[in-house]
C-alpha cells in the first residue's frame, strides 16, 4: 500500500429523527498513517534548545535539563542540526547551529551551563530565531524548544512577536514550563499556532521523558502542510472543529467560500494518533439517506517526494421517522466530547476569575469536574473540585492547581500518557 493518511469517521448518532428543526450532530475523524510510513526516510531535524538559566533553575532542575539535553544530542543523527541558547538577564549562544558530528564537544557546551540572574526570555528567543535560520535545509523540521521556570519581565510582547515570526517561517515552537512560577498565558499565546504547543512539567524528574517524547514526535513527522477542507450540504453548518488527539486544541476554521470551511493543521507525526471532533448543524431533512459533509485532507509527504496528496470522505446521514429512531450515542464520541467540554469550561472559568466573578468560575469548574468524572478522569476531576472549593473559600485558585487543570484537561501535562479510554 502506498504511504498516506487514512480517515475513519464516527457520528455521535448513526440515525437522526426526521424534524422540521435543525439538529446538532458530532463527527469524530480518526486519522491513521497507512502503508509503509516507517520506511520513509527520516526528515532532517533542525532543533534549537532555548534554556532558562535564571537562578531559580539552580540545582535539580538545571541538572535534569542538562542530562536531558545530553540525551537529545546522543539521539540526533548526522543529518540533523542542533543549537543551544541560554538566557537569564542576557542571552548567549552556547552551541551555534551545526550538524551533530562531534557529540563530545556539544555535550561539553551543555555541561558549562550555570544558573544565575534573572529571566529575560525575549533575548533568548531572538537569538534562537537567529540560530535556527542559519542552516540551509530545503526540507525537514525546524523547531525551537523553549524551557523556562519563571516569568519574564516586561518583554512579553516581544516574545510573542518573535514566536509569530518563527511560526510564519515554518518553525514550530514547543514551550515547556517547569514548576509553578511560569506564565502560562504568555507561553500559551506564544504557542497558539500549528506546530506549536505548551506542556506543563510538574517536577524536574519528568524533564528527560518529556524531551525524549518530543524528540520522538519530531522524528516521526511524515506529512507536512496538512489542511482540512470541509464542505457542508446546503443549510448545514460547521460550528466548531477541535483536535482531540494527541492533545486537545481548538482549531480555528474559516468559511472560505459558501459552505466550505478550511483549517490548517500541524505536521503529522507517526508517533501519535490524530483525531478531530466536528460539531455540525444538520438542516431539516426528510426520511432517507443524505450526504451531509465532504471532508478532504490535503498533505505533502516530503519523505516520498509527494506533494498535494488528498484523502476524501463523504459522510452520509440517515434520517428516519421519529418512531423508528432509538438514539444510541457512540461511547467514543461521548468520551471525547466530555473531555472537550471540561476543557472549554475550565477555560471560561479562568476568564471569570480575571473578571472577578468567583462564584461563576467555581460553578464552571465544578461542572468541568462532573464532565471529567463522566470521562473517567477521576484524579483530574478531584483536582478541579479542590480548586473550585478553594476559589470559593479563599477567592483564588492555587498556581499549581490552575496549571494542572489548564494543561491536564488538554492532555499536556508531564510525560503524556496514551489514553486507552475511548479507543
Amino acid at each position: 500500500m502506498n504511504p498516506g493518511i487514512g480517515l475513519q469517521r464516527t457520528l455521535s448518532c448513526a440515525v437522526l429523527a426526521e424534524s422540521t428543526e435543525p439538529q446538532l450532530i458530532y463527527l469524530l475523524l480518526d486519522a491513521t498513517p497507512e502503508g509503509a510510513i516507517a520506511q520513509l526516510p527520516k526528515l532532517p531535524l533542525n532543533l534549537c534548545l532555548v534554556v532558562d538559566r535564571s537562578s531559580s533553575m539552580r540545582g535539580d532542575r538545571l541538572n535534569q535539563v542538562k542530562e536531558a539535553a545530553g540525551r537529545i544530542i546522543d539521539q540526533l543523527g548526522q543529518n540533523d542540526y542542533f543549537s543551544l541558547v541560554t538566557f537569564n538577564d542576557r542571552a548567549e549562544t552556547v552551541i551555534s547551529a551545526q550538524r551533530v558530528t562531534n557529540r563530545a564537544d556539544l555535550k561539553q557546551g551543555v555541561a558549562r551551563i550555570e544558573a544565575a540572574g534573572g529571566t529575560e526570555m525575549a533575548r533568548g528567543m531572538a537569538l534562537a530565531l537567529q540560530e535556527i535560520q542559519r542552516p540551509l535545509i530545503s526540507r525537514g523540521i525546524s523547531r525551537i524548544m523553549l524551557l523556562t521556570d519563571g516569568r519574564t519581565y516586561g518583554d512579553d510582547g516581544t516574545c510573542v512577536e518573535i514566536a509569530r515570526r518563527a511560526q510564519s517561517r515554518g518553525i514550530g515552537l514547543t514551550a515547556l514550563g517547569i514548576g509553578t512560577e511560569w506564565n502560562e498565558d504568555l507561553l500559551e499565546t506564544m504557542t497558539a499556532s500549528e506546530n506549536s504547543h505548551t506542556q506543563y512539567i510538574a517536577s524536574a524528574q519528568e524533564v528527560t521523558t518529556v524531551f525524549a517524547e518530543e524528540l520522538k514526535r519530531m522524528y516521526s513527522v511524515f506529512a507536512q502542510h496538512v489542511r482540512l477542507s470541509i464542505t457542508m450540504r446546503p443549510g448545514g453548518m460547521l460550528r466548531s472543529l477541535d483536535q482531540v488527539r494527541p492533545f486537545l486544541a481548538t482549531v480555528p476554521v474559516t468559511e472560505k467560500t459558501d459552505l466550505n470551511w478550511s483549517a490548517t493543521l500541524a505536521d503529522w507525526t507517526g508517533a501519535d494518533l490524530q483525531a478531530f471532533l466536528l460539531e455540525i448543524v444538520v438542516p431539516p431533512l426528510t426520511s432517507g439517506d443524505h450526504p451531509l459533509v465532504k471532508v478532504v485532507l490535503h498533505y505533502d509527504l516530503p519523505g516520498a517526494n509527494l506533494k498535494d496528496q488528498t484523502r476524501e470522505e463523504v459522510v452520509r446521514i440517515s434520517i428516519r421517522p421519529p418512531d423508528q429512531v432509538t438514539r444510541q450515542l457512540d461511547s467514543t464520541v461521548k468520551y471525547w466530547l466530555e473531555r472537550l467540554m471540561a476543557y472549554r469550561l475550565q477555560a471560561r472559568a479562568w476568564k471569570d476569575v480575571e473578571a472577578g466573578r468567583m462564584n461563576e468560575a467555581s460553578d464552571r469548574l465544578r461542572m468541568a469536574g462532573t464532565r471529567l468524572f463522566g470521562a473517567g478522569e477521576v484524579q483530574l476531576a478531584h483536582t478541579v473540585e479542590e480548586e473550585a472549593s478553594r476559589m470559593l473559600s479563599g477567592g483564588s485558585a492555587s498556581e499549581e492547581g490552575r496549571k494542572r487543570i489548564k494543561f491536564g484537561t488538554r492532555g499536556l501535562m508531564g510525560p503524556t500518557e496514551e489514553h486507552a479510554k475511548g479507543t
Binding site: 455521535s12 448518532c13 437522526l16 424534524s19 428543526e21 435543525p22 439538529q23 446538532l24 450532530i25 458530532y26 448543524v281 444538520v282 432509538t326 438514539r327 444510541q328 450515542l329 461521548k334 466530547l337 466530555e338 467540554m341 471540561a342 472549554r344 469550561l345 460553578d363 464552571r364 465544578r366 461542572m367 468541568a368 469536574g369 462532573t370 464532565r371 468524572f373 463522566g374 477521576v378 476531576a381 473540585e385 473550585a388 472549593s389
Partner: protein
C-alpha cells in the same frame, strides 16, 4: 424542537449532548430509550430492584434521580427514608436505591452511602460517613448532616453523578 437546558435554561439545538452554555448533560433529554423507572419492569441492565412497597405510599410529591452517565431515571416516591447504596447480599445490605448496576462499585459508592428522605415538604440527603463522600453541587457533605435537595441540584455519590428533579 429545540431543547431547553434544565440547568441554565438556555435554548440548545436538538441533539446537543452537553449544554454549550453551561456544560450540563442533556443526555436524558435525548436518549429516551434508556429512560426507565424503578419497578417499571423494563430494566435493560437487569438492574434496579423495585422499591419496597411499604415505603412508597404516595405523599403527593415525587423526586427523580437521573443518573447522568447513563440517562437512567430513578423515579422515587419516598414516604420515609430511602437508603442509597450498593447491594451486598453477603452482608445482608439491600438499599432502596441500589447504584450497583449503575457502576456504583467503580464509582466508589459505599454499601450504605446516604439517606434520602422527605421532611416538612422538603427532600433532604444525609451522608452516612461514606468512604468517598456525598456531594451536592460539588460540595462535600459533612457526614450525618442532612442537606436540602432542590430540583436541578447535582447529587454525587463518590464519582457517580445524579441529577435531582423534584415534581410537586
Amino acid at each position: 424542537m429545540a431543547i431547553i437546558c434544565p440547568h441554565c435554561q438556555t435554548n440548545q439545538f436538538d441533539g446537543t449532548i452537553f449544554c454549550l452554555e453551561c456544560g450540563a448533560s442533556l443526555l436524558d433529554e435525548l436518549a429516551q430509550e434508556s429512560t426507565r423507572q424503578i419497578g417499571a419492569g423494563s430494566t435493560p441492565t437487569g438492574g434496579l430492584p423495585a422499591l419496597n412497597p411499604s415505603k412508597t405510599a404516595s405523599i403527593g410529591v415525587a423526586i427523580t434521580l437521573v443518573v447522568v452517565q447513563s440517562g437512567t431515571r430513578l423515579r422515587l416516591d419516598p414516604a420515609e427514608q430511602l437508603l442509597i447504596g450498593r447491594k451486598d447480599p453477603a452482608k445482608g445490605i439491600y438499599p432502596d436505591i441500589d447504584l450497583g448496576p449503575e457502576g456504583g462499585y467503580d464509582a466508589g459508592v459505599s454499601r450504605k452511602h446516604a439517606i434520602l428522605s422527605h421532611r416538612q415538604g422538603r427532600f433532604v440527603v444525609e451522608d452516612l460517613g461514606s468512604a468517598n463522600g456525598t456531594f451536592v453541587n460539588g460540595k462535600r457533605l459533612e457526614p450525618q448532616t442532612p442537606i436540602p435537595l432542590r430540583s436541578k441540584d447535582e447529587l454525587r455519590c463518590g464519582t457517580l453523578a445524579l441529577r435531582v428533579e423534584v415534581e410537586a
